[in-house]
Symmetry: C2
Subunit: 449 residues, 2 copies
């Protein structure tokens, strides 16, 4: 073997060192940015087995194209065509600065245009068309109008979403130019293509499914979602589309959807930041062989729908920007449901709790502080805190048998449960969150460049 | 010169590289912890010139000792002795899980014990004595009782604060054992020693002063503060002690203090996390040669007091954990004062805004999103956003003359102003914050070990 060239080795190491050192020492952005763009690795919290095999939903077709809205060498626009008779329900962000496409969807759903003609959903990534003034409204009209024309639908039945950078005019001609290709590419088995096309900082596409035994046939549900950062939904989450072949009236569909938004998409937070673009659309084509959804089937269908919604919501957390821990915060014993939610979100959004999780440090004092600042009714001396099965503290004092070593070992797991009992009442609430790591800062200190 | 020993050099570099690499690559906690403890560098945002020369306040004496509460080789307990006749006012955290010493201070202030006997303040760092049950109460009684005995004061006039880790029993005997030393060391010119002894993750001690021309003499104000993380005060901030020789009644002193808490200590946030231990005490010895504070002197005194409070509050932000930017968020045109505050805090607490600041990225879309999620009345199409003097957007649309290059150059400064006009009313509010950097995570992923 040749004698090691120590001089060259030292030089290479020195160079690497300089690069890393700059990152650690918080030098101005340029070196941080350079280091912040490693190959996009799939989150280690991603569901095992990758994107699930989702069933074909009769009456739903998908396609995706590369339109170059912002990204190169990847699909960035997807189209969903929904058969005549499809019932549609939706839930959207309550942000007061919501995007033009969100307002357009809300307006179209409120108009209750008869389902006879069918419907479509068109989604682009790379640009959220938010805070783009009248130009943003024009862009929505141009895109949905072009889709309506190409598919022979009323524009009032074409829903659109945009996700990506805020405040940049949407180059919508790049989308309208691709509509013939989108229409030509429609296939009933291409839902995964649609899921991929709407990703931004996501590291994996998100899908979930369920089947329910209906009267005289099977009912299928398949959903897709995108979301990774700016996740603290307030009514819905980033972008979620759920399809079913159930025969169900729009009003019943909307009721079911609204009932479960609070315990699924509104119960997750990556960073406490609420998007301007959150949209959730649920479409039921009615093409299942099963009869109309009612009675016990309605119950089973609603439970299955809840399961799909929760699965997708949790996948968003599993892909939280920089996440290395998937964490459930379960609050019990609250005086009211609103208090349970306040405490759970206060803990889940606390930067100090989230950095302790990143450090695998069972720093439960920060949980006490987060309960204290939540604004909910709380009595320090009735608080119980658990990490998984480990009783950390009760009655305002550390459990005498608490072992920091046991807790530290527990914190090294990827999936964690923080249990807080307020000891005041019967209300409870779970929310799901992730930790706050260096990667989150890498991703967000230089998202646009 | 001897030939360079490249082999040894490479080995040393490799070792350093490994250490830095672990920090960057989000390895499990142990290596992060090791790398997270560099020499404590003073924040680059610290006031130029170091700790200010604070005037002696007649009737106030200070001392500090090494009691080894948690830290070694540094002072960690400080004592302030206040002359007979001193009026005392205070403001404290509204956290529902506040520490025993905070409750004790509130109780003692509410009791309005006559000022005749004098008073004292005793503060330790390293342990916050929060969430420590009856043991915590006993610790407060032991420490304040021992100080009272040593100084010949009623215990009801001895106020205490504790700052540091939450949930660990306070080893108060280490403090009571040092009280003779503390009393023996009292000096009227040792205020900086007191400021140093209460530091935790602070990188510099904080002090501020003012003088006012009173009737027949000068009135002096000198204050000290500690605070760096868990900063989103809700009534006061971390620990702040302000002393004056003004002749002023306790009720007037309290009124002035309360009037200015909202625009100073309640207007800062490092990480949106509210402490269990926030305490602000203002003591007026009445030993100035000037006559009682009233009329125009009262106005001047109040203005000077506000200045000292704001200065100390801003110094806490300048020492925000990991901070590289000192940022004012100035909201104008709000429909109400409460809305202005909501919007300002929503922007100042947004992890996405704060990481963009760390990345020196003029990502104003995230400001739009933060306005939208604030819950305040806002009309997207009336929003105006500025970085310093740079008009970024107005009327819900990007300014056509906006130059991203100009904005990026602006963001490279250490001190930034984010201006948001809601275009709805006359209310305004400024809050001060810092960016969210890798150092914040380094510090907080392993604060306790």
């Amino acid at each position: 073997m040749a004698k090691t060239d120590w001089k060259a080795k030292a030089k290479a190491l020195k160079k690497k060192l300089k690069k890393l050192g700059a990152l650690v020492e918080e030098k101005p952005v340029a070196p941080v940015a350079a280091a912040a763009k490693p190959a996009k690795l799939v989150s280690k919290l991603a569901p095992k087995g990758g994107f699930p095999a989702l069933p074909v939903i009769a009456g739903v077709e998908f396609s995706a194209v590369e339109a170059g809205v912002r990204y190169a060498n990847r699909t960035d626009v997807m189209l969903v065509k929904l058969a005549p008779g499809t019932a549609i329900a939706g839930a959207f962000t309550r942000s007061s600065t919501r995007a033009a496409c969100v307002l357009d969807c809300q307006c179209k759903l409120a108009a209750k245009v008869p389902a006879g003609a069918g419907a479509a959903i068109v989604v682009n990534s790379g640009n959220s068309n938010a805070f783009t003034g009248q130009g943003g409204v024009d862009a929505v009209n141009a895109v949905t109008g072009a889709v309506a024309e190409a598919l022979g639908l009323p524009a009032a039945r074409v829903f659109s979403s945009s996700t990506g950078v805020i405040g940049e005019p949407l180059p919508y001609e790049r989308i309208t130019a691709k509509i013939p290709d989108l229409v030509a590419g429609l296939r009933d088995d291409a839902i995964s293509m649609a899921a991929l096309a709407m990703m931004t900082t996501d590291t994996f596409p998100k899908g979930a499914m369920a089947t329910v035994q209906g009267d005289g046939g099977e009912i299928r549900i398949a959903g897709i979602a995108k979301g990774s950062g700016m996740i603290a939904p307030d009514m819905a989450t980033m972008l979620v589309y759920i399809f079913t072949d159930a025969k169900i009236a729009p009003a019943m569909l909307q009721k079911m959807l609204s009932r479960h938004v609070d315990t699924t998409f509104n119960a997750i937070t990556v960073d406490s930041d609420t998007s301007t673009s959150d949209a959730l659309i649920l479409a039921a084509t009615g093409q299942s062989a099963a009869g109309p959804v009612k009675g016990p089937v309605a119950k089973a269908f609603e439970a299955a729908l809840h399961g799909v919604m929760l699965d997708l919501a949790q996948q968003v957390i599993r892909d939280g920007e920089g996440a290395t821990k998937f964490v459930e915060v379960r609050v019990t014993g609250a005086a009211s449901a609103s208090d349970a939610r306040k405490v759970a979100l206060s803990i889940a959004n606390s930067p100090l709790v989230k950095t302790a999780l990143a450090g695998q440090d069972p720093n439960w004092g920060r949980i006490v502080a987060a309960v204290g600042k939540s604004g909910a009714e709380a009595d320090r001396d009735r608080l119980t805190i658990r990490f998984g099965e480990i009783l950390v503290a009760e009655n305002g004092f550390r459990n005498p048998d608490y072992s920091e070593d046991d807790a530290a070992a527990y914190m090294r797991q990827d999936e964690l449960l923080i249990g807080v009992d307020l000891g005041l009442g019967q209300a409870s609430r779970s929310v799901w969150t992730c930790d706050l790591t260096h990667r989150y800062i890498d991703i967000n200190a230089d998202y646009r460049s």
